[in-house]
Amino acid sequence: MKAGAYDAARRAVDAVESPVGGALSAPVRWTGSVVDNVRGYFFAVSENRHLKSELVQSKATRDQLEALQVENARLRAVLGIRTDPPLPHVAAETIADSRGPFANTRLADAGRDKGVSEGNPVVSEHGLIGRVVGVSDHVSRVLLLTDAESRTPVLLVRTNGRAILAGDGGDTPKLDYLRTAIDLKEGDRVLTSGDGGVFPRGLPVGTVVRGLDGGWHVALDSDAAPIDYVQILLFSDFSQLANAQALAPKDLPTAMTEEPSASIAPPTTSAPVAPKPSAAKPPAAAKLATPAGAKPAAVKAAKPTARLMSLMPVRAAPVKPPKHVAPTKPASPQYAAPAPPPPRPSDIPL
């Protein structure tokens, strides 16, 4: 009862006080705003100066932000390059550039401390730019494809032809040692062939163009953008690409005849060994199974495929197995055709 009366009285007082207080405080507010205006008028210059300095700082920050965004995008593009099989690599920035007719090199700010060694291929986000020819602790020198001393074995994708890309100090290196039978066209894609073992196979190089001298040249992919960030592939030789597990001798699957119940070669549990001269002659049918499966053949077949490395798909002629031999497990995972995609939920019969 008492509390209710107190609350009612307080609300009544508040209701009355509100307009009174408002009326009383209005002059104070007006005075305050006048003072603010006067103060703003007198301090406008200093405030303006302060705001201008803030604006300059903001612009600098904005420019820095934009520069960082561009740099970030470039670095992401460089790091987006993937080799197959994956190779260890080091990202670097080029810090000096020589572009003369007698030397075309660049300095990259990654050296021995990051594992770079002479011969490592160097790529930008667009393609191959050259290889490392000198390494110090923190810096490495990259010989560009355009250097007069640069020679790079390349592959023409459309014709599968081989050539040597020879730099001459110009923007478009020449294609040397071309077979006359190779039918070249402008726009043909050029990749590294991997011949000689200096470069991995399949790195994009450029497209074929006609030079002013009438010869075939290559417009380099790496010219599409400034070469400021590069990726140094820590590639030494093909042995590092080989999958040791895939190359190891393995059990061969059982070869089957057309009649599924009859096995013509019993499965072996141990690693196959070369047949001794005194060993029993294998059944004639077994010979049919061995061309793709016997150990020597398997090892020989696996090695070259382990060397296959591409950033772009390279077509290979399909090999048909003999009719009467069941499909065997591929000798190396790299030989295997791409696995069929998993069935979509809609394809699974309910």
Partner: protein, 175 residues
Amino acid sequence: MTATTGFGSGKSMSPIGWLGMPMLFCAAGTVLLATPIRIFGLGLPEPVFPLTVAFAWAVIRPSVLPPFALLVMGLFLDVFWGGPQGLWPLCFLTTYAAVLSVRRLILGQDFIVMWASYAAATALAFAVGYAVMAMIAGGLPNLIAVGWQFLATLVLFPFAHRLIGRYEDADVRFR
């Protein structure tokens, strides 16, 4: 090293002044223009700065020091640009020797004649470089690239002319 005072104009022939500082400027210019930037899609020009001093030193006066200075600068260019070792020293020393042999014909000529002489000396240097690179690389270097660098180097003649004008009267014994 003591500074030699010229008899005619009283200008100092200090080795630092007529050899050291130009070398420094050449090295600085070379390093500066090796910056890997592109403007409107084009890279910076790459002139051969030391050819200006190779020409100017031969015109100013015969001396023992310039060939050694040119050797040092040539080796620097080989190392800095990553070219074959000895290429640029050979080019510079050949140019210096050629200009020195016809020095009396060049000295005191007009600006244009001097520029033409400088162009001939530069062409000789590039011809030597072209021949050496063709032998080393087993193929002919691109003539367009050679032409661009030649033109970029020709533009530098005012620097050589300024150096010659500054020191050619410093020692009248070689007039």
